[in-house]
């Protein structure tokens, strides 16, 4: 059963659907509202994915250009945000592929672990975690981005990444396991639990 939306997510999706219906009729102001709302959200994951602000901007405009052109094709089977994130994700992969550079290179798991001291402040801990994330393969990292950065459910991430739900679960499992290997302090005391024995 698909995971339910939070109240805030439901409200946002209702608003997005109203705006998108207006965009489908060629309403410039509605498109501007959608654009401003999604620019920030897309910029966050696209700059992390591409590591280039200018490329991220280019992908955002390409993706939202598609939204403008195809708003009338949206059938409402998913959240508007799932639809838009999927367009942006696929545009990003295509752009990166056409430029001939791979977005991320997975570091071997036996590389030197990044050890964050327990007494570091929250901001520094975040920086260590981000460093750890950068060592994950793109698909695994993106599953974490979509789940934790945007609150998407497993089913929604499958729609965005155009893959089966079980693939999302597998990527999520490996991403979290590798992150704990790269950042031992994240493992907490889980090593003593059954989780570590899997």
């Amino acid at each position: 059963m698909p995971a339910p939306l939070t109240h805030a997510q439901q409200l946002r999706d209702d608003g997005d659907r109203r705006l998108l219906a207006r965009v489908a009729t060629g309403d410039r102001e509605a498109f501007r509202e959608i654009y401003i709302a999604y620019h920030r959200r897309l910029a966050r994951f696209l700059t992390r994915l591409t590591r280039r602000y200018d490329v991220a901007e280019e992908i955002i405009n390409d993706a939202l250009w598609v939204v403008w052109k195809r708003a009338a094709d949206f059938r409402g089977e998913s959240r508007v945000s799932t639809w838009i994130m999927g367009i942006a994700y696929r545009r990003a992969l295509k752009t990166l592929s056409s430029r001939g550079h791979r977005p991320f290179v997975a570091a071997p798991l036996d590389s030197q672990p990044l050890v964050a001291a327990d007494d570091l402040g929250a901001a520094e801990t975040s920086e260590w975690i981000m460093l750890g994330l950068e060592q994950l393969p793109t698909e695994q990292r993106m599953v974490l981005e979509f789940a934790y950065g945007y609150g998407h459910s497993c089913e929604e991430i499958a729609a965005i990444m155009d893959c089966p739900v079980n693939t999302v679960k597998t990527r999520m499992f490996h991403a979290r396991a590798k992150l704990r290997t790269i950042l031992p302090s994240l493992a907490g005391t889980a090593a003593s639990s059954g989780e570590a024995s899997r």
């Binding site: 995971a3 401003i36 966050r44 939202l64 801990t125 975690i129 950065g149 907490g188 989780e195």
Partner: protein
């Protein structure tokens, strides 16, 4: 899958608020008596917080939106110009025979138009060679137009003198424009080097008085 493994899988969806009710209830019961899983949940929340943290770089969405909207407008104009270029000019469209028969004066008007067209044709025949450019609605392919054109929009406050200065700097001349939406079609000034270059468009874009400049279809 043992219960710790199940708890580990579910806690990813608990920290992002997308766990369903039954699974959430089961996980809460498990966490109530499992300290290692509670510790893992805390670590998972730290990962979520790090990922959900807003970026320190501020984008300027309104400026980006303006760029995208100019692109949309430019495409719309190009499409509409191409469509109007394909349509036969109204003056040359023959009136349907039945209609012409019902309205005798229409025959006279058409005959007069034809005479004017013949006269203009004769005048054009005597004119010097056509200029070394063509508009986007021309169907003929002029030898100097194989180099393409640039579509540009200038800032609202730009004066004629500024436009002249900008175009001279970029080595361009106006072919047509401004259109209803303020779009100018530009071509290279130098007949010996008729191809528009990315550098020309880039020079225009670098000028703050230019809102939009893209190499476009001829």
């Amino acid at each position: 899958m043992n219960e710790h493994a199940r708890a580990s899988e579910l806690m990813a969806w608990k920290v992002n608020g997308r766990i369903d009710h039954a699974d959430g209830q089961w996980l809460d019961d498990h966490l109530a008596h499992c300290a290692p899983c509670r510790a893992q949940l805390k670590a998972e929340q730290r990962v979520r917080d790090a990922i959900a943290r807003e970026p320190t770089v501020e984008f300027a969405p309104q400026a980006s939106f303006n760029r995208l909207w100019e692109r949309i407008e430019s495409e719309r104009i190009t499409a509409s110009e191409a469509t109007s270029g394909d349509a036969p000019p109204p003056a040359r469209a023959p009136a349907p025979p039945a209609a012409a028969a019902r309205v005798p004066w229409l025959r006279v008007a058409v005959a007069a138009q034809a005479a004017v067209i013949v006269l203009l044709g004769a005048l054009l025949w005597q004119r010097p060679p056509a200029p070394a450019y063509r508009t986007v609605t021309d169907s003929a392919t002029g030898p100097l137009l194989s180099g393409g054109v640039i579509k540009a929009i200038f800032a609202d406050q730009v004066r004629i003198g500024d436009v002249k200065e900008i175009l001279q700097g970029a080595g361009l001349v106006v072919v047509t424009g401004p259109s209803e939406a303020g779009v100018y079609t530009l071509a290279p000034r130098d007949a010996a080097a008729p191809r528009v270059t990315p550098g020309m468009a880039a020079r225009l874009r670098a000028d703050p008085r230019v809102r939009f400049a893209e190499i476009g279809a001829q």
